[in-house]
Symmetry: C2
Subunit: 427 residues, 2 copies
């Protein structure tokens, strides 16, 4: 059989050391989430295309991997190649749309409010490129059923603490409110039906600067007066001050309104509870791409990394579209693949080499029963023991083991467990 | 939007308590596997259909969920509805075929030998029925690159110990060797090209009895003399004796040959290392369904459960078909969904109710900063704290929390953490 042994295009196989780094990171994140009362839930990888293409996913809806109908169902399709005729299921492209369906279906049997952890693969048929994969892991927490800002506070605290627990100390959390963005767009005089386009332009401020945003909004055909008003506003030095009331006063918004009050509440509660371990900054230019956000939005930056490593916000409307009655909802998603890339750049500690022990035996001579008895003794002492038949070149064998994260060895019949690094001279 | 909120047919959503039971079981299993030097590896959910339909999967190949080609690739398909034209990827139906591809592709960068743990979902478009799902979790260990019986011994020990660690104490491990089955079939006079059909009939001995097997083999058109010889042999009381040499002598096989010697070696080594915690029984009627097995095969039964809860064996030929050179391979797979069902029947302990604490506050009155400060203090003491806004009926709220596995509560402003069960009288 001649067969290409690569994984499918844009997808990855993971070697043991890679999986172990990911598992260790995931375990830390989960540990923090659990202390905040979040609970894991799971949905299948497949969902109906009707749900997936129902409007919540934006561009992602174009990237769905669709499942071919089977047997009779396929035969009764018209067979003219139209994808809708050939498929009725697809692989999920995120964990939020499935969560909304899950909650709509099971809410009576779920804790109320639901604090959900979702961890799992999602699939998008994007053009493969460096750091972007067609199967990747998402790691979300969501609180469903809480209207008050306690949801935002818990999500921000839990997410930031999870990242700190991974050793990512130099975090900045930025926060804004979609409702303030709408106020600003209104006061600048943009056409209400084109606000999303204004926000998409504004979202690029970090990357293309003030002149870039002006050019982009003009090119998009927005009213020149509105563009000029917004650009002048964005140039205000007060916006960079950071104190929430200073910034609010520099904006054309109601400084006593609900969004402003909610911002103060969240910033104060998070600030006290985090005890200065990370800054929470009001950034009135923060947008977040998804159009489904309805209230506060937030993201987390790490050092000078250009992309955020976590993002989220309130999306009170989404579940209502499925369930038929509104359920307040708010979520925060860690960019797990980015986190893993950062941990790997930082040298991603090998998992427990000091517990991994190779028990070397002579396959031609040693009695298997004795080998196993020694292995079991060492396991009872807490070692992770692999039983290795001695190769002709022991030194090379030990080096290979060390390269795969095994830190210790013992030759059957000898008494001392030795670190592999110090085995120089073994032959 | 009117939308069916059920998961796709034959697939499941998991509630928090279900996920927690599964996670706890998986964590125990993984812990044991790791003490035996096994390491997690991962492959994508999707594989090329060419690989999946390459011959290793038997009946499962008919149950593949296929992925519709996208855009241009779909347009250039003939569009006559032939599945081969419309799809080139599929969801994996097991973890063994992907592991063989993975090893063929990465072997130079992998530990040698590779002791792989694979845990993950697989998909089969089977007719849904009780206890059988279209997406389910497999949990496999495999040793690639070890020719000697140390592989079989380690796999049996690690798997049985993992099940014992779950509290499944009443295990029986059964072992046989495909090569002995072949000897028996030869000596009985069956046609060599029809041995698989003989084994399929024999495999049903437990369910349909000796007369059933006779009828089945006769109906399948095997030579009456061969069937009669086999049935007489199966009636031998010595087969049930259990002592490996007694049983071997009752069979028409070479009692001094390699398979017999390997059986003695494995049974002795496992017996010593397991120190009597589970029996390992030579069962010459054990078959295992897969045709790819080439040597020893094994399975584990629990109490009087009709189905085995784990199964595996040696499959030395599979990787060679992809890689072009033979690599000895042996694996053992736990039936994770069956294990979970047994643990649930046994009342599946709720995860850590004694650490789960609800901090009850008054949403209308309490200051969020104070609420969070209390929550953080309790978290630092080791509790898993959910912050719960007090509802009008506290008793009902507490009962609901208890039903979801929360064991403790504290009303903000009071000093004592109390068990929810004893909260009788709260209003």
């Amino acid at each position: 059989m001649t067969i290409d042994t690569s994984p499918p295009r844009g997808m990855r196989d993971l070697l043991p050391l890679e999986v172990e780094l990911r598992d260790a990171a995931m375990s830390r994140i989960l540990g923090v989430y659990r202390t905040h009362g979040f609970r894991r839930v799971e949905t299948p990888a497949l969902e109906s295309l009707k749900l997936l293409m129902g409007g919540g996913g934006g561009e992602n809806e174009k990237l769905i991997f669709k499942i071919l109908k089977r047997g009779e169902k396929l035969a009764t399709s018209s067979g003219d190649g139209a994808a809708e005729e050939l498929a009725d299921l697809g692989l999920r492209f995120d964990l939020t749309v499935p969560l909304a369906r899950y909650y709509a279906h099971h809410h009576a049997r779920l804790p109320h409010p639901l604090r959900a952890i979702q961890i799992g693969p999602v699939w998008r048929a994007e053009r493969p490129q460096r750091g972007r994969y067609r199967q990747f892991t998402q790691c979300d927490i969501d609180i469903l059923g809480v209207e008050s800002e306690v949801a935002e506070v818990e999500l921000i605290l839990a997410t930031a603490e999870a990242l700190l627990a991974l050793g990512l100390m130099d975090l900045t959390v930025r926060i804004n409110d979609r409702r303030l963005l709408v106020s600003v767009a209104e006061r600048c005089g943009f056409a209400p039906e084109r606000f999303e386009s204004v926000f998409i332009g504004l979202d690029k401020l970090d990357k293309i600067g003030l002149d870039g945003v002006r050019a982009e909004l003009q090119a998009a055909g927005h009213h020149p007066d509105a563009v000029a008003t917004l650009v002048t506003l964005l140039g205000e030095p007060a916006l960079g001050k950071g104190q929430v009331d200073d910034v609010l006063r520099a904006l054309p918004v109601d400084v006593d309104g609900a969004p402003a009050a909610a911002l103060r509440t969240v910033i104060r509660a998070v600030g006290e509870a985090s005890a200065g371990r990370f800054p929470l900054v009001f950034d009135p230019t923060l947008v977040r791409g998804m159009s489904y956000y309805t209230g506060q939005i937030f993201e987390i930056g790490y050092k000078d990394h250009p992309s955020s490593i976590a993002g989220g916000g309130r999306y009170d409307g989404m579940i209502g579209r499925i369930l038929g009655r509104d359920v307040p909802a708010c979520g925060f998603s860690i960019g797990f693949e980015r986190i893993v890339a950062i941990l790997q750049e930082q040298g991603g500690a090998v998992a427990e080499p000091a517990r991994r022990l190779a028990l070397i035996f002579d396959g031609a001579r040693d009695d298997l029963t004795e080998v196993m008895a020694s292995a079991q003794r060492l396991r009872a002492e807490g070692y992770l023991v692999s039983v290795e038949s001695r190769s002709k070149r022991l030194r090379k064998q030990l080096d290979d083991l060390a390269a795969h994260g095994v830190g210790l060895y013992l030759v059957l019949g000898e008494t001392d467990v030795r670190p592999i690094g110090s085995a120089v001279g073994a032959s």
